[in-house]
Symmetry: C2
Subunit: 417 residues, 2 copies
């Protein structure tokens, strides 16, 4: 089945790869217009999914991810228009040189070709991914969750109509059936048919994709992020950054899981921090010093076990530890972290430099919330996911990350000696 | 065992990641000097490997790859000095912007960390890879072939001494024992311990690595490369390019396997081409037209079977086909090729553009030999391999391809709204 989808995508992809920016932008605008115009069809299909999912006993938090409404559809269309406004990532000259033998070399950005997405209940990913892939000249094979089957069917149908309306082949966007799990396996094994597969969703989904894939894939996800408050930190900045990093949206990968506090300011900052976290209903796990301070404040904090330090809670739960130096903070982070996003709160340039040099993270935040590791926040327009690996892309992935390159070598008859 | 090597490498890597260019270059110079100074030790160890391998019945072509001599050692040292002369790929600012909320973003190149190499008999790869990884701030775990065990031991020992002599930790270069195959499996499964594994060698080795790896890996290798001679091709350029592409070194991935000739010039060019290939002892497989022309010339050419068109011969053997257009040539290449390197010989800009637009290759050669897809030829200094995948790197991989990035985000207390 993937062979058929891929074959149609490859044919369509030759056209899309060389479509002008104007034509791709017209297609995206047509998608945005059609999503808004056909809202009632989308909501009806989505309602079917919600009713069926509820009857199957799916949790209300998943239902919330699945459910669409007018505002969410408007948000999805607005997101597409943000992508439209961004420069074309294709045809950009990355490197260029003329060799002593007269050969002219040019490394040009080109699309991957056929990109598979494997994701969960959120139907907005269907449109976000398709639009990012369209603008970057890639054909999308979209494998969403069966719980969103009806929503994804109508969304893909609307997008295919819109793409065809501007004269591009509809097959640049295709839905992979979600009726059974074999379509995921087939996609992950489709070497030569699919150029890249990106998983987006729970840690379990990502692990499955990375473990099973025989095609190139990009590991997204896991984030055990840290906030380190240095002895030279401005505590008036530290407190809101800590709360924002932990509380604003605890379920996402860039939320913080562990607070590290320099011992020289622990007596001042720890009570402030524990009190603020407690007020936000954050369950606390601490080292001995933290537990002692908490007890004096009448705040509940359990003694952290070894496994707590490396746990991605994803809920209002946090570890707190007192450290004696930047080096000790860095050592802790390198031991227990996942190299996603780690923040330092300090006004001391030497401490900041030392911290940066000892991190091995996709993003290091200096006096800013860990929550900023996000494509939209960082000016990428939207993101197709956050890479938590080092190869190909690291951190938020937008249009540029969905390209590869070709070397165009122009000669006048040169041969190798 | 990999856990111990990786742990030592991680520790050493923190130092190497922030070493100055001067210090890394000093280490490389010390390696070059020591390789030349300790030539007799290297040759003695290598001679042991050659004797043992011969007694085990290893083929003479493999013995040739394994064997070192003074000239080869001088070549290896010279290669190291070429890497030394290249700019430092670490600390380069890739993107930089200030957001409306005042956050300053800087994407900086950093090393991967710990990179594993899995390769075959050539001991020069031991030094080439270690030096490229050293200059790009990465720690090398080198897993060569057991047939080169003694050679690799002395080479790694010499390099570790040299690195330590300039004050960098010796553990940035480590040899993975080649006594049994389990060390390869362990390396490929070492998620979190190894950031990237690069295979270099036969198609079978690469396939094994890509299939087994649970760590990120880069597929190198397979090349079914084409030379297409257009109706507007300059035949005085076409003939030497064809011969160079096929004959100069048929065993490598950028050698050509198939010649496509436009029907309008077939009567002129085909006899020239078949005669020249025949003089170079190239075994020929052709379509009906080619076989007919060959017969008239008294040259032996068998009718190509379907599988011939997608075979990477790696020896003096070639397919020849007559096509009616650039489009038909492109269609053939997309169907049977491996997207490595494809060449067009033409003086017609429209034909060239159409060819480029229909290719999906790591490199497209215009009036030049396919053999130029090579890091050293393309000005990379040396190469650690040629990527034949689209993610992370495509085509020759040198220093820049051995880096990843970190986002450094500097704020003044920003939190996300």
């Amino acid at each position: 089945m993937i062979a058929n989808l891929s074959s149609a995508a490859r044919k369509a992809g030759v056209v899309l790869a060389h479509a002008s920016r104007a034509q791709k932008d017209d297609a995206i605008e047509a998608i945005a217009v059609a999503l808004l115009a056909r809202e009632s069809e989308i909501l009806a299909a989505n309602n079917d999914d919600v009713i069926r999912s509820r009857s199957e006993g799916i949790s209300e938090s998943l239902i919330d991810r699945l459910m669409l409404n007018s505002a969410r559809i408007a948000g999805i269309a607005g997101g597409a228009r943000k992508i439209k406004a961004l420069p074309d990532p294709i045809g950009v000259i990355k490197r260029e040189r003329t060799l002593p033998n007269g050969l002219h070399l040019k490394q040009v950005s080109v699309p991957f070709g056929v990109v598979g997405m494997v994701y969960e209940a959120r139907p907005n990913v269907t449109v976000d991914a398709a639009v990012i892939l369209l603008k970057s000249g890639n054909c999308a094979l979209l494998r969403g969750s069966s719980s969103a089957a009806k929503s994804n069917e109508i969304l893909v149908s609307i997008m295919r109509d819109a793409v065809a309306s501007v004269g591009l082949p509809a097959d640049v966007i295709q839905l992979v059936p979600s009726t059974d799990r074999s379509s995921v396996t087939e996609l992950l094994h489709a070497r030569g048919l699919v150029d890249l597969v990106i998983p987006r969703g729970s840690a379990a989904l990502i692990r499955t994709v990375v473990d099973e894939a025989k095609v190139p894939t990009i590991e997204t996800g896991a984030g055990v992020c840290h906030v380190y408050v240095d002895k030279d930190g401005d505590l008036a900045k530290a407190l809101p950054i800590l709360i924002n990093s932990k509380v604003q949206r605890p379920s996402v990968c860039n939320a913080a899981e562990t607070l590290l506090v320099h011992s020289e300011i622990a007596d001042t900052f720890l009570p402030m921090a524990l009190d603020a976290l407690n007020s936000e209903h954050v369950v606390l796990h601490g080292d001995a010093k933290t537990v002692e301070v908490a007890r004096k404040l009448g705040i509940n904090a359990s003694l952290a076990r070894e496994e707590n330090w490396s746990t991605e809670y994803g809920v209002l739960e946090m570890n707190v530890r007192v450290v004696d130096s930047v080096d000790q903070a860095a050592e802790h982070i390198r031991k227990y972290g996942t190299n996603h996003t780690d923040a330092i709160i300090s006004e001391n340039p030497r401490a900041i430099e030392s911290f940066i040099n000892q991190m091995d993270a996709a993003a290091v935040m200096i006096n800013a919330s860990t929550r900023f590791t996000d494509g939209e926040e960082m000016g990428f327009g939207a993101e197709i996911g956050i890479s938590n690996q080092k190869a190909h892309a690291r951190g938020p992935m937008g249009l540029e990350e969905m390209t590869t390159t070709t070397w165009i070598v122009t000669g006048t008859g040169q041969i190798r000696g």
